[in-house]
Subunit: 292 residues, 4 copies
């Protein structure tokens, strides 16, 4: 049921969460199959602590009798209110529009743009935002508009307002902070709930905040980590999407931690972005459900 | 939907595989919920290459209207033949009976018996079989009958017949080869299809056969592995249940590979045995589906 | 230069750390080779931040001209004071004496005793200490004296004094806290500096203190860890010897975290204990150098 | 002793291997320190099976009394012949010149060029060679000459001769096959012994040859791997520099194996290339010693 990458048939993707109750899977799959949809993917999860049911289902629309632009309405009317479902509906023929925010460090940016250019992902990258000009040359190499918003204490509110205006005008769906070394504040975060993906260069919750590699070196840990998470208004505390680690030893210096961390950061960020693009991440109470 | 360990309510576990076709999940979950079963766990998989559907569903029997001893018959009559399902039905109040085969190396045996004694697993270990007496003291420590069947070229058929007789008399459900250094032949294998779990001390298919650590050292690999698989009549070629690796370096000798491999072997074997006991492994055409 | 496990020749092991300065390796290796020692192992490290040199060297004594009981004195006189070296000298024909402290959870204890009984390690385990009687049956199985010291707020000082007396009388060299659920206080810690090895069931410094699996579940991390460290008077803050992690997902409950954590804990603890027994751990300013 | 990345002082790097014998470390470190060299890095290894000693030592030349262009001659005369040493001498102020060979798949190429452009490595990439034009656009983005040599059965010898001529004229020191889908034959291999680094998309020796992901899928393994090795005339059988794996499951298709493998391939290749550039790989009898 894994969607095949080069599948060109149009599919609908339905993400649902609601209070757990018997028979929900049967109801949803019945809705799809009775109306002529061919299910390609189904995964579900029950959080037995919160008693919440989560589901992701994807089906081919070719012979589906409900018109594409009416599916959401029908599902809402027939099931969502009845079962108190929170749901989102996507179609695979729409490319989500992703903005990348960067500062001076290039490895995550290169990695994202290489995947984009090689068409690994079903995504559009209409623009890159930065508070510095250092990485403009990278944007130029890949032919992507690069917008510089230098941020100081005094102009932060104004600059963020300008950024938000640009994001809205460019119809940006989600934002990736690719080692963006500026704290983003409320207005942007609130405009993109669970839609801003950050990479933090530590195994959160250890070493939140600034200079995690220095802190890891100081503490003498034997593994370093990276964490990709959705940004919330509390720093480095949003729902975690993906984490990984790499082994280090007493031979490592802060400099070699930074070097080893680079590969980790770009891979962990890419995995999180991929899951987000594939509509496989659901959030609930500061935790994520990440389907395979 | 993960079954909670210390859940004492009786549950039924249904494992199904059949040709993929629309609506099977709906049919099966409907069968359970309509008849009063509360689903605790559901996972499913479609092998899109073979077009085979796999499913594991577990539900509480407390208010289930079909008597426990009739569930299999009803499901067979109503659905299995109609959908050409191959199915198995288990109940969590039965402890599967596991025989352990060993030779001279103790680490896997100790690990299995420690888990058994600590009641980590829902399993019974009525006996240990060996072709040597070396590990009898371990069996004695844990109070488990130890049966010695010394095997030579000449007596192999006779000894295996005697082993099989013992296994049958002791109502053994499945066998774990915990570094048993004797090739088991057809009669036992055929009596326990997908019910004999072996641990091979390499990352199969690399280094099948004898002395894999020596071969790994010779080749100069940078990782060594262990593989747990069901035993088939073709040596080291049965369906793989679990694999893992550990990093090595030029500093390792064959002796240190053997030492590092020990931890790997016992953990990989234990993971496979646990999945088997939890009825989470399905096999089809020499491959496994291992549910979480 | 890796010492071969079944090497029965007597060797000396010298651990050194001192301010870094040119030529130390030459001086030490010269001391050994000129006097007829055959070097089996040499590893060294320079902490360029603290400017400290670390070294571990092991050599065969067969043709070494300095008598075994004079080596320390000679090395001290000729080199240690000159180069301001802190050094320790061990011989492989002495088995360090290890005490195991446990409470109610058995997996680490079983793992340690299985290795001990199988003679994986060059160690003696003369006794087990516990604040509960629950695991006495494990000690009995392996024939090791089990001493119970029930600890309450009121009797803690007295009991620790009694424990310390027992440890001294039994000539215990180092202590392993194998999921010992009592905080050990100053007198014992000060009597065994860098000689008490604890296993903490989290990826420190994340989730220090009580109930780390609950905290990890609450935070929604995607990996859980275990950390083995030397005990200092600051809780969960001593020098880290070894860490590792295992991947988890949204499907895991606190119960399955605890189950998955068990395997992690016992392996991470065993790796640390092994390094300690092999005299491959040096500490300096709350960090460790762990040689291969 | 780890060379600090942004260290701008000139250093010499000496790689040595020779029959193991007492006192070699003392001799070599003495040679350096007596003549005014400050040792920044020293690592050594003894292969106790082959009885071969390996060493890598790096020192600052600032106050070294032997002129840079005479060091090799002096070391050869004074020590190398006496101790039957095979040695190589490098200086960190020379950037090794690396050619990249590619075909149609871009992820490894992008990754190498991003590191190059970000100056992660002390390397020069004067040219890219390909048997196809597909990736010319990548070379153009990064401003690196791209040379196309279409290879057929009939013209292979001629084309390889032309490639070799280009490599020689461009003073190429080593070659990276970044998913180059053509078997390179004897003349080029013999001209670059232990200087051609390939990435093979399997955990060698498993799944050597063509289509390893298909073979891995067919066998039902639970981990897939990637292997970086020096190219020898025997296909996929040269000395292994680095390997790593990623966990897969029954949910993966050949397509998702290919996707997951991409990240693995580029990281494993980059680690091997980095070690090669840092002069930390020594080879002997089809195995590598890879220093930290």
């Amino acid at each position: 049921m894994l969607a095949i990458m080069n599948n060109r048939k149009t599919t609908a993707i339905l993400l649902v969460h609601c209070p757990d109750q018997p028979g929900i899977i049967a109801v949803v799959t019945d809705f799809i199959t009775v109306n002529g949809g061919n299910i390609l993917y189904l995964d579900q999860h029950v959080d037995t602590v919160q008693n919440v049911f989560f589901m992701r289902v994807e089906w081919e629309l070719e012979r589906f009798v409900i018109p594409k632009d009416k599916i959401g309405e029908y599902f809402d009317t027939l099931y969502a209110s009845k079962y108190r479902m929170y749901f989102r509906l996507y179609f695979n023929d729409y490319k989500p529009r992703m903005a990348v925010f960067v500062s001076k460090i290039s490895h995550c940016l290169y990695d994202l743009l290489a995947r984009y250019t090689a068409e690994e992902w079903n995504v559009e990258i209409p623009l890159i935002v930065s508070n510095h000009t250092d990485l403009e040359h990278v944007a130029v190499r890949f032919g992507i508009p690069f917008h510089v918003f230098p941020v100081t204490k005094d102009n932060k509110a104004t600059q963020e307002a300008a950024e938000l205006k640009l994001l809205k005008e460019s119809r940006i769906d989600f934002i990736v902070l690719a080692r963006y070394m500026q704290i983003i504040t409320g207005d942007i975060i609130n405009a993109y709930p669970d839609k801003i993906i950050n990479i933090h260069h530590s195994f959160l919750p250890a070493f939140a905040g600034a200079k995690p590699y220095h802190a890891a070196f100081e503490r003498g840990v034997k593994l370093i980590g990276a964490t990709s998470h959705y940004v919330t208004t509390e720093l480095d505390a949003g729902p975690i999407i993906e984490q990984d680690i790499v082994r280090i030893s007493h031979k490592d210096t802060v400099n070699t931690l930074i070097r080893k961390g680079r590969d980790l950061e770009k891979i962990v960020l890419a995995r999180a972005v991929e899951k987000h693009i594939e509509r496989k991440v659901l959030t609930c109470k500061n935790k994520t459900v990440v389907f395979n």
